[in-house]
């Protein structure tokens, strides 16, 4: 079978991408919101985020597993065969979709609790002020938090944040997508 024939016979991966992104996006959003309120209600500790707790650690890197989950879903529900390159693409798209879902949910949450973003910002700045770094750098980091929060409230700022987070989340999910192919899929002889 030529690569072209194989490619043409490949079913769509969009359902798998959507399912994985929705699942990972919603779960990481919920955990990060809970961790956010835990932070707001704790004393600043001189670190970017106060309190090294499970709520802070668990969401770390969770968003990177959307790629693997999407590949798992595809091989289970659609087709067992998958090339490494296709796994990378599915992973990238899943990562991008996770960022989109997180952005939309964060925007929606601001409607429910308009003070949330400001409270997070103020807490973060209070934490920065306690950090043991040169005053000039400290002031610039505080300024950047102000600017970021301000930009997040505009459409362009939201779009920029989504694109940045999406690109990096996508890159990381390329890797987990490829690992997913190795674990769950039967690779055709021509592996790309």
């Amino acid at each position: 079978m030529s690569d072209l024939d194989f490619e043409e016979k490949q079913p769509s991966y969009w359902t798998s991408v959507s399912v994985a992104a929705l699942l990972v996006g919603v779960i990481t959003f919920i955990i990060s919101i809970i961790a956010g309120y835990m932070r707001i209600n704790s004393e600043p500790e001189g670190s970017m985020f106060a309190g090294i707790d499970a709520g802070t650690i668990i969401p770390c890197l969770m968003g990177a597993f959307a790629g693997m989950l999407a590949v798992w879903h595809y091989t289970r529900e659609v087709d067992k065969k998958m090339k490494l390159g296709r796994g990378a693409l599915v992973g990238f798209l899943a990562g991008l979709a996770v960022a989109l879902i997180q952005t939309l949910l964060t925007k929606a949450w601001v409607l429910i609790d308009p003070d949330y973003v400001i409270a997070i910002r103020d807490h973060m700045i209070a934490s920065y002020e306690m950090m043991d770094v040169p005053e000039q750098q400290k002031q610039m980091m505080i300024d950047s938090v102000y600017q970021e929060t301000k930009k997040q409230q505009t459409i362009w700022g939201t779009l920029r944040n989504f694109l940045l987070a999406g690109a990096f989340s996508g890159i990381f999910n390329v890797v987990t997508g490829m690992i997913g192919v190795k674990i769950f899929a039967e690779e055709p002889e021509e592996t790309l």
């Binding site: 970017m48 934490s127 940045l164």
Partner: protein, 146 residues
Amino acid sequence: MKHYTPTFEWGIGIALGIPVLFAFGPGIWGDASEFLQRAIPYRLIFQSLCHQIADRCYIINGWIMPVCSRCLGIYLGLFGGWILGAVFGSNLPTGKKLWGVISLFWLLLNIADVLFNLIGMWDNTLSSRLVLGIALSVSATFYIRS
């Protein structure tokens, strides 16, 4: 170990190199640090991928890195491992099972390191987290190529 088409090798290699550049933060760029801190939202870029707890991040020239040392290790390992595999892959032992077991070993060691540190059984350091992150991600790239 498998080698792929040059486009794929270069594409993945460049993609994995981009997070490494940003993960160091503005501190490595000397006089341009202040400009870059203003221009690039480092913290936002990695917000959904790393907890960014400052005392778990390296500080370069007074600038705190936007990722923790373990994540830095992971990004360095993914990039370095992919390049190593591309250049020296044919000299490395092959076998999906072998690299799968090695990757799993490093993954479990990372999980144990996080959990035992959380419950206070031991204190890990910036360097130990960095090394564990590198080991995990290098073996993961070799697993992908196996």
